[in-house]
């Protein structure tokens, strides 16, 4: 029996306004094993970030989880925790690295204070020197110079800020890191550094990683397995290798095909609206998945 760090079952999220209700996530299931990196890819508006926020229970109004379970470490259902219990689990078991780290740090607090408050919220640490040493060590781990300790976020570059966020998320050895487009808004060289830092940290802490993004190239480098999302559904799950080399679902094929290639230039075509709604309609009828090869699941085509 596999022990899952995260097991998401039939998760459903709605955004309900007085005018109408939009189903953003329509009953998706996936799981992450210990030490594994799962990539969640899909175009904008497919429900990737909503899924991550639902797992973290950070959905903002009018977003609401309307069904499903999110099981952490095979025993806690995150969706049923009380606020107090949830606070305890956050950061110690479940840490977030947000999208666009430019605004993820409080502009009026020093880097050290921002890392420290997360630690102190969960751990008694009366020795100030010990705490400072611990934070300095974290910064060294993500490859930042020691001066960053006392700096304010506006004194750092985008890549440095993102690495501060990684250090912060790693500060309590969580069993799962959720990285929501950790490298968006960074140039390619910085992207590489940040991605490498993230993988190094993950390796060192032996945690699991759920990484969300739309950059398939970057994902191919980082993730062990991948789940493809469209319109609130997952259409294909499998190892990165298999999904990219032999995509089974029509949408995955289009997605993989849309990747720019340096060997064979092709016209940049977008998925047309008709194909998308056909796919979506089919999924609404049935989103049942079948296993084509071991561990490679595909929704009905």
């Amino acid at each position: 029996m596999n022990s899952y760090v995260l097991d998401v079952r039939k998760l459903k999220v709605d955004y309900a306004t007085s005018m109408k209700t939009i189903q953003a996530v329509k009953g998706i299931s996936f799981s992450i094993q210990k030490g594994e990196t799962l990539g969640l890819i899909g175009e904008s508006g497919s429900g990737k970030t909503t899924t991550a926020m639902a797992i973290l229970r950070l959905l903002q109004n009018p977003g609401r989880v309307v069904g499903g379970e999110v099981i952490l470490n095979s025993d806690i259902d995150l969706l049923t925790l009380s606020e107090r219990e949830l606070r305890k689990v956050r950061w110690t078991e479940l840490a977030l690295i947000t999208q666009g780290s430019m605004n993820s740090l409080n502009p009026t607090m020093r880097v050290c204070e921002q890392i420290a408050d997360g630690i102190l919220a969960h751990k008694e640490m009366n020795d100030k020197n010990e705490l400072n040493e611990y934070i300095k060590n974290l910064l060294k781990l993500v490859g930042l110079p020691e001066r960053v300790f006392n700096q304010f976020p506006h004194e750092l570059s985008g890549g440095m800020k993102q690495r501060v966020c990684i250090a912060m998320a790693a500060s309590l050895n969580p069993s799962l890191l959720i990285a929501d487009e950790p490298t968006s808004a960074l140039d390619v060289i910085t992207q590489r550094i940040v991605a490498q830092t993230l993988l190094d940290i993950k390796e060192r802490l032996n945690t699991s990683l759920l990484i969300i993004g739309h950059d398939i190239g970057l994902m191919a480098q980082m993730a062990d397995r991948v789940a493809v999302m469209i319109d609130g559904f997952i259409v294909e799950v499998g190892t990165m290798q298999e999904v990219l080399s032999s995509p089974e679902h029509q949408y995955t094929q289009i997605l993989v095909d849309s990747m720019p290639s340096i060997k064979r230039r092709k016209p940049l075509t977008a998925i047309d609206e008709r194909t998308r709604s056909e796919i979506s309609n089919k999924l609404c009828v049935s989103s049942e998945m079948t296993e084509v090869t071991t561990g490679h699941w595909v929704a009905v085509n």
Binding site: L58, L96, G100, T108, M109, D117, G118, A121, H154
Partner: protein, 336 residues
Amino acid sequence: MNGLTWKYALHRIGIYLLTILISITLIFVISRAVPGDPIENMWRQLEMQKGQIEGVDLIIDHYKELFGLNEPIGIQYLKYLWNTVRFEFGVSFVHYPTSVSSMIGHALPWTLGLGLITTLIIFIFGNGIGAVFGWERTPKFIKTIIPSSLIFTSIPSVLAALFLLSIFSKNLGWFPLAGAYNSNVTQGWNWPYIASVIKYGFLPVLSILLVNIGWTILGMRAMVVTIGGADYVRLAQAKGLKPFYILKKYTVRNALLPQLTSLALSLGGLISGQVLVESIFSYPGMGMLIFRAIREQDFNVIQATSYMFILITATSVLLIDLLYPLIDPRITHGED
């Protein structure tokens, strides 16, 4: 590194001194540009009422000599600057020979006291209430009372003052009608005197407060709502921090910055509102002084009080400017 740097402080103080120099120069130019000569006007008026006065031209000339009005304009300006810097404003025309500085010396503490207390209350309570209204965890029934904080904001402070005066002083008799303290009590640090100062000051403070606090509440509420959706607040929640800690260190701390700016900008309005309120309550402050001086055409007093108002406003803005980098670490860095 951060906070207050010398360069920033000197820069702000330079601007402050320049503002004051320009405004006192304006006061000088305007008072010279006004048609008519106050001394001549006074004597000609007297002549019209009482009939021919012998040697009136000589008297007028004597007074002009006395006030230094016969000297070249450049010398007059320099002397004026020198005197203003030393707070030497000459004597009052109407309450001759009381010196203007002693009149201001009596009025200034009342105005500063009134202004300081109202500004403090507005800033502390306005932002506190605003933060509560904007916080997502505040119960709905508290949020529904928002509109009531705005009832008074759309009316001028003069009307609020008259309204309060007529209800609480005239009809109910809870508060005195005019003045700043009970004249039967000996002045000084004794409880009856302090109690009377509070009692007499209550309605003036309240009327300025009611009119101005709504904007602070609204501004703060909007800021807290906006910042509540910021990425760093969401991350703070993901960290498992306590909600009140997040409100304090993440939301309010950042929301206060624009509030401080708007306080600096509104100081001028606060002070001019106070002038009218003081005259309604016959509060013996600067507002009352300038109000009476304008009615009596007491030029030296008008000039001096205008200067003092500019000085108060500019100094408060300077203080806020110097305070700003202590709260927002980003400010000084833009300078170098």
